[in-house]
Amino acid sequence: MRMNTTKLSFYLSLLAGVVLLTSCKRDTKVEDDPQPKNNNVMVSLSFECDGKAITKDVFDYTNDAGNNYSVNRLQFYLSEFVFKQSNGTEVTDESAIYVDYFENKGMNFTLGKIPFGEYDEIRFCIGLPPSLNVTDALPNTLDNVNMAWPVMMGGGYHFMKMEGNFNTPSSTYGYAVHLGKNAFLVRIKILQHFSFSTSNQKLNMKMNINEWFRNPHLYNLDVDGNYTMANDTLMAKIAENGTDVFTLW
C-alpha cells in the first residue's frame, strides 16, 4: 500500500521532531546513584561570641578574663564523628573537615550514611586523629599545606589557628592561639537529644569562641600568653577549655 504524500510529510515532520529532541543529548551520562542519599546529614556551622556574631577585625568581644579582643583568623579541622543512637548503637564517620570561617570554607558539609532515628549523643574532635596527624597524610591542597605543623616540631597539622588582636591598658597586641600535637586533640561530647528523618537531615552546630578562654581554665591573653604554639602548657589549657565550645541548636 502506498502512503499518500500528506501522511508522508506528517511522519517525516514527526520523525524530525523526535530526532531534534533526542540528538542534542549530552554525551556525559549522569549515573543513577545506587545508594539513596536519604541518610546523609548536612552539618551547618555557625560562630558567635556570647551571642554576638563574629566579624573580622572588630574589637567587639570580651572574654571572662576581661580581654577585649578581635578575630582575624579562625581555621580548624573537625574529625572523628560518632553519632550515638538512643538504642545505644554508634555510627561513625571518619571524614576530616577543614573549616575556615572567614574564607567560608567547610561551613556546611555532609556526613554520609547516618541512619534515620533518635540520637542522644554526638562526639567529634577539633583537630585530627593520630592516624591523620602525620605530615602529608591529608590530600595535598593549599589549605592543608598552610595548616602543616613543621616536621621538626613533630609533624602533622595545626588542629586550629585562631588569631586576632587584644587591647591592654597600654596598647594593642596580637594573639595566636594555635593547637597541634596529638596530646592536644580537642574531644567534644554533646549529650543532647536529636533525630534524623526524611524531613530532618540537618544538624546545626554553633561555636562560641569565648569558651576557648574559660572552663576549666580562665585564660588571660595578657597574663597566660598570647602565643600558644610550642608551649604545651598553654595548648593544654586551650584544649581543655575547648571541649564545650560547640553546642547544637
Binding site: T5, L20, C24, D57, N72, P139, V145, M153, E163, N165
Partner: protein
C-alpha cells in the same frame, strides 16, 4: 508534491545538523579548524594540586599565545615595554634591583600585587594588567599578521580581545612553576643540605625564627596578606592593603612573596628598603616595629626584643635562603622569549 517532500527532508536535515552545533565558534581560520590541544601542567609531587578555572582550561595554543603576549611590547600603547621588561627570567621573573614581585608559582595565588590590590584568579589579575596597567589597544593585535590566527587557535575567535589576552596570559603564568631548587630537591629527598643550610632550615621551620607560618612548605608563601612590622607609622605606599580596603586593620599588610630565587635579588620588601638578605634577616631578628595591625605571629611573648639570633644563626639562615635558587626555572626554554 515530491519536490515538497525533498524540500522538507532537506530542511529537516539542515535543522538536525545545525541544532547540534557546539556553542563555541568552530569556523575555520584560513582553512584550519579550531582544535585546541589540552595542555597538562606538570605539578611536582611535593606541590599542592592547584585549582584551575573551568572557564579557562589550559591549552597548548593558549599557553603559546600567553607566552608571546608576555614578551611582546605590542601590549603597551607605545610598544615600549612588555611584562618581560621588568620580569627577567634570569632573575626569577623579577627585577633584582627594585620591588617588582617575581612571577613564580602564581598558579596558587589568589592575592596579587604587593598590597593585594587584586584578589581572585590569575584571570582577574591579568585583566587588570591588560586593561589597567598596559591599557592595551587590542586593535593593534587585530592588524598584526600573526595574532588573529594565534587568538583563533587559542580561543576560536580571530578577533583579539582584552579578555582573551588576559586568559592567555593566565594560562602562561600557570606554567611558570619553580620546583627544582636545592630546597625542593631536599624536600624530595634527592639531595642533602650542608650543615649551615640545615641549621638555617631548622630555624626557618621552627619557632626559633618562625618564618614558616607565612613562608610555608613547599611553596614558601601562603599567598596571604600580613603586616610583618616594617613600620609603626604608615604613609604612602607603606599603608599596604589599607589602600584598597580602607580598613585600619589592613595597615602595613602586604602579600607574602615567594622566596624562590630570593638570593638573586638586591632589593627587598615592597619599597626596596633592604638591599641584602643579611639586612632582611636582621630586620626579623631585631627590627620588627609594633603597631595595632602587626600580624599576631610577630608578637610572641619573650621575643619583644627580637628573635635573639646569633651571628652564626643569621649566617645559617642566609645559607638556607641561598638554596632557593632554581637554575632549571631560570633557564627553562619553555618560559623564555619566543622572539
Amino acid at each position: 508534491m515530491v519536490k515538497k517532500i525533498i524540500f522538507l527532508t532537506a530542511a529537516v536535515s539542515l535543522l538536525i545538523v545545525t541544532s547540534c552545533k557546539k556553542e563555541k565558534d568552530d569556523t575555520n581560520f584560513n582553512g584550519a579548524p579550531y582544535n585546541p590541544t589540552p595542555y597538562s601542567i606538570t605539578i611536582p609531587a611535593h606541590f599542592p594540586q592547584p585549582i584551575i578555572p573551568a572557564s579557562n582550561a589550559t591549552t597548548v595554543e593558549g599557553v603559546k599565545l600567553g607566552r608571546m603576549l608576555y614578551y611582546d611590547p605590542l601590549l603597551h600603547p607605545t610598544n615600549s615595554m612588555s611584562c618581560s621588561s621588568c620580569h627577567f627570567q634570569e632573575f626569577g621573573f623579577c627585577t633584582p634591583t627594585n620591588e617588582v614581585m617575581p612571577h613564580v608559582n602564581l598558579i596558587y595565588s589568589n592575592n596579587f600585587l604587593w598590597n593585594g590590590m587584586i584578589s581572585g584568579t590569575l584571570e582577574d589579575a591579568m585583566r587588570f594588567e591588560v586593561n589597567d596597567f598596559f591599557q592595551a589597544d587590542m586593535s593593534k593585535f587585530q592588524n598584526h599578521p600573526d595574532y588573529p590566527r594565534l587568538f583563533f587557535e587559542a580561543f576560536g575567535s580571530s578577533t583579539p580581545t582584552a579578555e582573551n589576552a588576559a586568559k592567555a596570559l593566565a594560562q602562561f603564568f600557570r606554567t611558570m612553576i619553580s620546583s627544582d631548587s636545592k630546597f625542593d630537591k631536599f624536600l624530595r629527598h634527592q639531595t642533602v643540605l650542608t650543615m649551615e643550610e640545615a641549621i638555617g632550615f631548622n630555624m626557618f621551620f621552627t619557632e626559633k625564627a618562625d618564618c614558616f607560618h607565612c613562608h610555608s612548605i613547599p611553596l614558601t608563601s601562603d599567598y596571604q596578606l600580613h603586616n610583618i612590622g616594617l613600620d609603626s607609622v604608615f604613609n604612602g605606599v607603606n599603608v599596604g592593603h589599607y589602600a584598597n580596603s580602607g580598613n585600619p586593620a589592613d595597615l602595613g599588610k602586604f602579600r607574602t612573596p615567594s622566596l624562590k630565587n630570593v638570593a638573586l635579588q638586591s632589593a627587598f620588601m615592597h619599597d626596596n628598603r633592604f638591599s641584602t638578605l643579611e639586612e632582611v634577616v636582621e630586620f626579623y631578628n631585631s627590627g620588627v616595629k609594633h603597631s595595632p595591625s602587626l600580624d599576631p605571629i610577630m608578637t610572641k611573648p619573650g621575643k619583644e626584643n627580637g628573635l635573639g639570633l646569633t651571628a652564626y644563626d643569621k649566617y645559617c639562615l642566609v645559607q638556607f635562603l641561598n638554596t632557593m635558587t632554581d637554575t632549571v626555572f631560570l633557564n627553562n626554554p619553555a618560559l623564555s622569549s619566543p622572539f
